[in-house]
């Protein structure tokens, strides 16, 4: 089953002045449970593609369908709500809420979803344990290492059981040890809970771990390989 379906999508910046085609007539399907890396040189359109998949940036042409919903038909408020319920985001710079503790950051999305406090508590405890950050649960982001912050960010993205997780260069700011640990956790979550991960990355360690590697150049797919 396709979780993400992109049909002939293009993204053109400055269409009225100096048009820049960041994504060029691209079609792609991502299925449930995939562990996909989108790779390519800087400026090839990886982040733009992820932003369009996540409903953060509208495409100039084509359509983006997430679990059967054409997101271009949603208004801004519906789209925000759709992201809340269906998509998990992991950013390069972690982007945790600085005034909340690790635990509160993980709870955040579920609280916005108005989940039952008991369900939230159980889920967060489970995630803290699986991410190996139970001892750091009451620390604020500024009191955590980069690797710990990114684990919290992944836990936050996973907490509400989204349809898929978009991770934009998640290991770019991490050292080797933290990267290996994080990748191990994400791969385990992919295996255990069939969570769909889509990464944009330059990192060879992420590429090596990915089951599918899509290579972009000049906004178009130049190769799409399955790694067994």
């Amino acid at each position: 089953m396709n979780v993400i379906e992109l049909k002939n999508i293009s993204k053109i910046y400055n269409p009225d002045t100096i048009p820049v085609r960041a994504v060029n007539n691209l079609s792609l399907q991502i299925e449930q449970g995939e562990f996909t890396a989108i790779v390519g040189p800087s400026g090839c359109g990886k982040t733009t593609l992820l932003n369009m998949m996540g409903g953060l940036d509208p495409c100039t042409q084509g359509s983006v369908t997430i679990s059967g919903v054409a997101i271009s038909t949603l208004n801004e408020s519906e789209l925000t709500d759709f992201r809340l319920k269906n998509i998990g985001f992991v950013f390069q710079a972690y982007n945790l809420i600085p005034v909340l503790t690790a635990r509160e950051n993980i709870e955040f999305i579920m609280v916005l979803q108005k989940e039952d406090p008991k369900v939230i508590g159980d889920r967060v405890d489970n995630l803290l344990k699986r991410m190996g950050i139970t001892e750091q649960k009451d620390r604020r982001p500024s009191e955590l290492s980069g690797g710990q912050q990114q684990r919290v960010a992944v836990a936050r993205a996973l907490a509400s059981h989204p349809k898929f997780i978009l991770a934009d260069e998640p290991t770019a700011n991490l050292d080797s040890e933290a990267t290996a640990g994080l990748l191990e956790i994400m791969a385990q979550m992919n295996k255990d809970e069939a969570v769909t991960f889509v990464f944009s990355t330059h990192d060879q360690r992420v590429i090596d771990k990915a089951k599918r590697v899509i290579t972009l150049n000049d906004g178009a797919i130049v190769s799409d390989e399955i790694h067994l």
Binding site: N51, G54, L56, D57, E76, S77, T80, D81, R83, L84, K85, F89, F91, N95, I97, P98, V99, L100, F108, I109, V111, L112, Q113, R156
Partner: protein
């Protein structure tokens, strides 16, 4: 909602410096607005209080022609108001007075003076006349009390004899001499340079007006009850030829002066609001604009712009509340202190105030309304100033915000 309140509370303490700067600017505006308003209302209260105590009362009862033609022949028999019980609330004090103009003479010097025939006991409570005594004796039978400025002009001292000449009731000649038994110092220049006080019976004897008084002045507990009390009193006097007048009717110049000054004060207050308002607006705007990246992230992960606005609204509300609270907390003891101890003026400032007949002090008013009005005003202004920064969150573009 708890989440937004928690986020807002922690966010405002994230940048302590900014929070204290914003709260301080709000607090300063509340503080100065309270002080300005307190001085303004205090000076009015003081002017009104001095005027009603020494001249008219909050309510004055006169023979119906007296106010238009203030002559002794328009006085009335004090038996007519004997059924008044001045101790009844809201009447706190009442004082019968016989006023006339006279010539006061000592040795080679003569001056026109205002002669006040008063019940010294009652007047001590009504206008606190006894407290104005700077030398001599307040209760000396057969003597006269002279204002300090007048005594200096006439080179009078205690024990000297002052000659008074006037026209008595129905045109009879009035002339008498009185030993000066007390010197009074008044804050009001006109009184200080030309007032003499005789016991009521002595004044009636001097002016050959037995039992007659020109006014029956009433002091109220609450000056705002003046109009109600006046309309209650008038029917009780309908059968006599007496007329009830409020201090506003008796001193229209004072009322107009206060109104004019009040609007001047309002303009000053609005200038203060504007000056402080720009600062508060700048801080609110910065508070929102510098966090666009953070709002972009929140919006990306599923927090609607409306919810972001609610969170920021709580932050701004808490900041304003903090500022207003601190401002009121700082202003109240200062106002209370100066209310009890008005700032005395000296030199040119004092001279210019006295020239206009005002007491040379900066009086403060202590009224809960001042704190309430200024607190609410600054609160509303701050809320209005927050509207534009709040609306700018609605214009948030996630991708643009995330690139900041």
């Amino acid at each position: 909602m708890r989440l937004y309140i928690k986020l807002a509370w922690r966010n405002i303490w994230r940048s302590k410096k900014r929070t204290w700067i914003t709260a301080s600017s709000i607090a300063f505006s509340v503080f100065f607005a309270c002080l300005m308003q307190s001085i303004q209302l205090g000076s009015y209260e003081n002017m009104i209080d001095n005027s009603v105590r020494f001249f008219t009362g909050h309510i004055g009862i006169h023979q119906q022609d007296y106010w238009d033609e203030q002559i002794l022949d328009n006085s009335f028999d004090q038996q007519l108001i004997n059924n008044f019980d001045a101790s009844q609330s809201p009447m706190v004090r009442a004082s019968p007075r016989l006023n006339a103009v006279a010539l006061a003479s000592y040795k080679e010097r003569t001056k026109g003076v205002a002669l006040y025939g008063v019940d010294l006991e009652l007047e001590a409570k009504f206008s606190f006349l006894e407290r104005k005594l700077v030398s001599g004796n307040y209760h000396s039978p057969g003597g006269i009390l002279v204002a300090q400025g007048l005594s200096e002009y006439l080179n009078l001292s205690l024990g000297d004899t002052l000659v008074l000449m006037s026209q008595g009731y129905h045109g009879v000649n009035a002339a008498a001499k009185y030993p000066v038994t007390g010197i009074l110092k008044f804050p009001i220049l006109s009184l200080n340079q030309g007032a003499v006080y005789l016991p009521l019976s002595a004044a009636q004897e001097f002016l050959v007006a037995p039992n007659m008084i020109t006014s029956y002045s009433i002091l109220l507990d609450d000056s705002e009850a003046t109009k109600i009390m006046s309309s209650e009193l008038q029917p009780r006097l309908s059968e006599s030829e007496l007329q009830v007048r409020t201090w506003q009717e008796m001193m229209p110049d004072l009322v107009q002066g206060i109104e004019l000054d009040y609007y001047g004060g309002v303009v000053m207050l609005h200038i203060l609001y504007a000056v402080v308002g720009f600062g508060i607006f700048g801080t609110f705007l910065m508070m929102v604009k510098e966090r666009m990246y953070e709002f972009g992230v929140l919006n990306a992960i599923g927090m609607t712009k409306g919810n972001i606005q609610i969170m920021v609204a709580f932050e701004i509300f808490m900041l304003i509340f903090l500022g207003v609270f601190i401002g009121l907390l700082a202003a109240s003891p200062v106002v209370m202190c100066f209310w009890q101890n008005p700032i005395p003026l000296t030199g040119d400032a004092a001279a210019s105030l006295e020239k206009f007949g005002y007491e040379a002090i900066v009086p403060f008013a202590l009224n809960l309304k001042i704190f309430y009005n200024q607190g609410i005003s600054i609160f509303i202004i701050s809320i209005l100033l927050a509207i534009y920064p709040m609306l700018s969150i609605k214009q948030l573009k996630i991708i643009k915000a995330l690139k900041e």
